[in-house]
Symmetry: C2
Subunit: 258 residues, 2 copies
């Protein structure tokens, strides 16, 4: 299978490395940034690369767009016409973005948080796929199954909600860790001391639904502690977050009182 | 060491079981609820128990109060006078709550989220201790060191902030998992598919500071996605949470623009 990889950022790199491990080295890598394209090409054993979208090979079997949503709009009209399958990797972009340009298209959405500094085991990443015809859906299912043990089908409507759910479970959660780190640092306490609690909180929900795992002052609606803790927060935005989430916890667990 | 355990809830039970594993079975368990007291006593090989605080032995070496903050206020004045060391296990209660009743007191605060349905390895739980004299601080340090590999000293002021930080990292985080679960369930998607992302998000911050681990539309301040995602949330409270945390992420990572 001749794979053309459009993009050389975090996700593109992780994907390329996972493909390479399965003997599927991309036939060409594109990035608008020479440096990024060259680095990824080197990592893949000096596979061909280009910074000119018009020079992307037209005989690819699969074109994977692992780029920012905004870049997708720019690049799609400029890809040389071809008969390959086009897929993007984004949570919140409808597969129909491809319709004006090709009649074979789909999505391969790996739901994970990628940072340059950290390796991830791609086989553990849930991958959500869809395509606009059954053959291509099967092709993507096979390919995704080589990369990951967790392949799901999800249509574009579901994928939007997956991405939204992931923002809550990952991006927002990580920001709460950031606020926690800030509180600790301001009082001479090590963030490291919080890691067992963070890990247990994450581990618990593999065993029980999160609503059942809820603990703390807000679920008891312990006004005494809630008010004391709010008063400790000098930053108005942090105080607002504290108050709003406490209210939401209370409402979730005591629907009759709200 | 003769230990008197006041309380028979989640924390009291975990603590008692951890003490028992070190050969330190409580000499007496107190709970206002007969059923709870009897159950915990049975679990500890039928150690003595009582539901009458006036019948708690007066010759204990250590009185551990593992009860709700509000119950602490009720019970302290009714404990038979004794010369033991009194400690509570609460995050947000000053050690000086004991001063009117005894001159030997302190705190042993295990920072973890306890649920009945789930066993925890006490040796991995950070335990924060303080006492009002050096001898008792050393005694608590020894005892805590038997139960956990992670013993820290923290005064009452620091402990308040530890508890506050833990509310962000655990209670609030778990609520975000709950909201994530709600979004997925409403669209026929399994919460299980989110677990690798949840675990990776927690694991990342053992390797890099959470601010550095931040990903997602809010840190890029991708207005297009932020607005689309807000529009997907029909619940006003969830929309408010989405908007507020996105704003806080943006402010944290782009302080100049705010």
């Amino acid at each position: 299978m001749k794979i053309i990889l459009i993009g050389a950022g975090n996700l593109a790199t992780r994907l390329a490395v996972a493909l390479q491990a399965k003997g599927l080295v991309p036939a060409c890598v594109f990035s608008r940034t020479e440096e990024s394209a060259r680095q990824l090409s080197e990592r893949l054993g000096h596979c061909p690369y280009t910074t000119d979208i018009a020079h992307v090979p037209a005989d690819g079997d699969l074109y994977i767009f692992a780029i920012k949503d905004s870049a997708l709009h720019d690049l799609l009209p400029r890809i040389p016409a071809n008969r390959g399958l086009w897929v993007h990797t984004a949570g919140s972009v409808d597969k129909e973005i491809f319709r004006p340009f090709t009649n074979r298209y789909g999505v391969l959405y790996p739901m994970q948080t990628f940072s340059k500094e950290r390796e991830v085991d791609f086989s553990e990443i849930p991958v959500f796929i869809e395509a606009n015809n059954q053959n291509d859906a099967d092709l993507l299912h096979d390919l995704a199954g080589k990369l990951s043990n967790k392949v799901y089908r999800a249509d574009s409507e579901q994928r939007k909600y997956l991405h939204l759910a992931a923002v809550f479970a990952c991006n927002f959660t990580n920001h709460l860790y950031t606020l926690c780190d800030r509180i600790l640092a301001e009082h001479g306490l090590p963030f490291e001391s919080m890691l067992p609690l963070i890990h247990e909180t994450a581990a618990k929900v593999a065993q029980m639904p999160p609503a059942q795992a809820q603990t703390g002052p807000a679920i008891r609606y312990d006004r005494n502690i809630i008010e004391k803790q709010e008063a400790l927060l000098s930053d108005p935005l942090m105080r607002e977050i504290y108050s709003l989430i406490s209210r939401s916890i209370h409402k979730t667990h005591n629907p009759k009182n709200n």
